[in-house]
């Protein structure tokens, strides 16, 4: 049985995850007929602003023939009285079958899914999860290396506030990828250590030994929040730039969930580097989202 929702990557088992990626690759190789979700009402409910993810989902929904409704209610409207249960009931009554939801609050997608008699796809909840981003990252890695086993991937930066990092950690551990988290202790507490997940403070020591490096966005509010002293101090330790690119293996790849903060977590040299896979990532995103929609709604049989 396929999962009802995709709240995080581990709603899929390892085999289901691979099957979704296979389906995404098939869609990328040849677009499917536009009737996979013909007439299925899909609501894009983005409480938190989004450009790339919302666009990618909308295109994916259109390519599978769904009836697409997009609504950006603003983050506060649920805080002003209407309960999650009321919202879910209303949306189901209207006839919505799939909700693609983004919210600033960790766990919002889960709370909505528990109250909603339909499918919920988490397009990002607070600092918790962003499963379709992780799936497209995994799709990009597999496209590059043809395997997951024995890969070593470094995720660098503000792990604490990153839903992309969390979902990738879940997915990568599930697939046996060796995860190395790199960042200062204020943005990467010890509590992230786990089986298959190592914590490092020295990016220079890590770079020569990884197959891929994922650079997370650093937000300036971390300085006001007392978590970082200055951007200069951070970049001196953790920025991927021309010098550090030399330490990265020639067959390694660079991932970034976007959007970039140029000259913070990376420099233009990185974007121009042939090992950068940003464009492949966003390209794959549409097909991953088509595959997720198809899997949840149609229960596409998964390969054993």
């Amino acid at each position: 049985m396929p999962p009802r929702n995709l709240l995080d990557v581990d709603d899929l088992g390892p085999q289901e995850l691979v099957a979704v990626l296979d389906r995404a690759v098939a869609f990328r190789d040849a677009l499917p007929p536009r009737d996979l979700l013909a007439g299925v009402p899909v609501l894009n409910l983005f409480f938190e602003a989004s450009t790339r993810t919302a666009t990618s989902f909308t295109l994916a929904e259109q390519r599978v023939g769904a009836d697409v409704i997009s609504f950006a209610p603003g983050a506060s409207s649920l805080g002003k009285g209407e309960t999650i249960a009321d919202t879910a009931l209303t949306l189901r009554g209207i006839g919505v079958k799939v909700i693609v939801v983004r919210h600033t609050e960790s766990g919002f997608a889960r709370r909505l899914a528990d109250a909603f008699d339909g499918h919920v796809i988490n397009a990002g909840d607070g600092t918790h999860a962003h499963p379709t981003q992780a799936l497209l990252d995994l799709m990009t890695l597999r496209q590059e290396f043809g395997r997951f086993a024995n890969l070593r991937v470094a995720i660098v930066g503000d792990i604490l506030h990153s839903r992309v990092a969390r979902s990738n950690i879940v997915g990568m551990r599930m697939l046996g990828i060796d995860v190395v988290l790199v960042g200062p202790a204020t943005l990467l507490p010890h509590s992230f250590g786990a089986h298959g997940v190592r914590i490092e403070r020295d990016l220079d020591a890590v770079l020569p030994h990884v197959d891929a490096v994922m650079m997370l966005r650093i937000q300036r509010e971390r300085i006001a929040g007392g978590l970082l002293p200055t951007l200069d101090d951070y970049t001196q330790r953790y920025q991927l730039n021309r010098t550090r690119l030399r330490a990265l293996r020639s067959d390694a790849v660079i991932l970034h969930p976007g959007p970039y903060n140029r000259d913070v977590e990376l420099t233009d040299d990185v974007l121009a580097d042939p090992r950068s896979r940003y464009v492949a990532q966003v390209h794959n995103g549409v097909f991953v989202r088509m595959a997720v929609l198809d899997t949840l709604v149609n229960g596409v049989p998964v390969a054993a």
Partner: protein, 434 residues
């Protein structure tokens, strides 16, 4: 009016008594303890196969009145108290407005008397409005009936204010009760900081947030020689700090809640606020240290931190839902669940004798001439159904759990106010503790 509790195993840690006895209460006071007592006109409470103890006192509850009566009232809160086996409660001052004036305190006492169930001992604020800046009028509050002072729910951020409060109130017997959480270290946390909060992407509050305030307050207690009580201890380090302070002569007592003794910070996978509480549920290391500290005598008091809220409030998003949940009606069973090996005399001391001594209130013993407050309880397993609570707060992480012990009858001032699952308000109630 006479009440005779017959056939029970009477345990009184103050008297050192543990024997089959009858207890006769006359005119609101313990009149006689003996074998096969007879009192033809007395109201009989059958305590066969049950334990008879001095009335349980919960020194940490939130009755929400005035100001938040949609969460609880003094009437519903005291009904919950007696249904849970408590003959008295101390109510915290974080009402709206806060209990920082004699008039408010007198009104709470008046409403408690009108409810005619449990005794209610108001706790006055340490600072005006619990805002942490100006001192509350301790002597006026004490004269109005406050048994302790606390800014519970918060701590004065300014150590100078707290030090001056302790110095000014130093001539009063009323203990200071600290809610220990550093607001800066805590931030916007909704749960304990640890591997669970890291995995779930939720803001966590470190044990350190409690420990630094416990340390600060113990140092102020020592320097000012004020007697002090640390509320709802939740970390192993706090316990070590309390032991250290005691060894240096600081007069400090402390309490633990049922939820911190039973639950861990692994209850947030559904992102619901049912287990959201301050201080937060911690990891196993801390929970196990709390259990050990009850057994080794570090912890003096069982207190529930009964904190009722409306169901709709607790159903909100985790970040905005209020902290706390009902505790009065599960406490007797929950402590037994957490500490099956705890001797009954110690269990009763933590629920009755010790809080009575710390607050300087009647009860805590069945010695002849003491207040006629008695709790009858038994090891009768039951399953918690929060919908049936007398409290307006129908939330508890214990909902659906089977607890090994329950209150069977509650006697306040010689009147049976709870028996056979029924609340029995008193008529012509006369306060005896004034």
């Amino acid at each position: 009016m006479r009440t005779l509790v017959k056939g029970g195993r009477v345990i009184d840690p103050v008297l050192g008594l543990d024997a089959q006895r009858d207890v006769l209460i006359e005119n609101g006071f313990i009149a006689q303890i003996g074998e096969h007592l007879d009192a033809p006109d007395a109201r009989i409470v059958d305590a066969a196969n049950a334990i008879v103890a001095p009335g349980f006192i919960d020194m940490h509850v939130h009755l929400r009145e005035p100001g938040q009566t949609h969460k609880e009232t003094i009437a519903t809160g005291t009904a919950a108290a007696v249904a849970g086996g408590f003959t008295a409660v101390a109510c915290m001052p974080n009402t709206e407005p806060a209990l920082d004036s004699a008039a408010l305190v007198a009104e709470v006492a008046r409403r408690a008397e009108a409810a005619g169930l449990a005794r209610v001992y108001p706790v006055g604020a340490i600072t005006r409005g619990r805002a942490g800046h100006e001192l509350a009028p301790y002597h006026l509050l004490a004269a109005a009936g406050c048994v302790a002072f606390s800014d519970d729910g918060a701590t004065p951020r300014d150590a100078r204010v707290l030090r001056n409060a302790a110095r000014y109130a130093g001539d009063l017997g009323q203990v200071f009760i600290s809610h220990c959480e550093d607001p800066d270290l805590k931030g916007d946390a909704v749960m304990n900081e640890g591997s669970a909060s890291a995995r779930l992407g939720l803001d966590g509050s470190p044990g350190l947030a409690e420990d630094v305030i416990v340390a600060r307050d113990l140092l102020i207690a020592g320097e000012t020689e004020k007697s002090w009580h640390i509320a709802h201890v939740s970390t192993a380090t706090s316990l070590d700090l309390i032991r250290w302070a005691r060894a240096r002569g600081v007069r400090v007592t402390c309490e633990v809640t049922p939820h911190h003794l039973v639950f861990l910070d692994d209850r947030f996978d559904d992102y619901r606020a049912d287990s959201k509480v301050n201080p937060p549920l911690r990891a196993a290391h801390d929970r196990d240290a709390l259990r050990a500290a009850v057994l080794d005598g570090t912890i003096d008091v069982f207190a529930t931190d009964h904190a009722p809220h409306g169901a709709d409030e607790k159903a909100q998003l985790l970040s905005i839902a209020p902290v706390g949940f009902s505790g009065l009606e599960i406490a007797v069973g929950a402590y037994a669940l957490a500490l099956r090996e705890l001797p009954l005399a110690t269990y009763i001391a933590l629920l009755s004798s010790n809080p009575a001594r710390i607050l300087g209130v009647p009860g805590g013993t069945l010695a002849v001439g003491s207040a006629g407050d008695v709790t009858v309880f038994g090891d009768r397993p039951w399953t918690v159904d929060a919908r049936l609570f007398r409290s307006k707060g129908k939330n508890t992480p214990f909902d659906g759990m089977t607890l090994p012990r329950r209150a069977l009858a509650t006697i306040v001032d010689g009147a049976v106010v709870y028996e056979h699952g029924q609340i029995l308000p008193r008529e012509n109630f006369v306060e005896t503790h004034a």
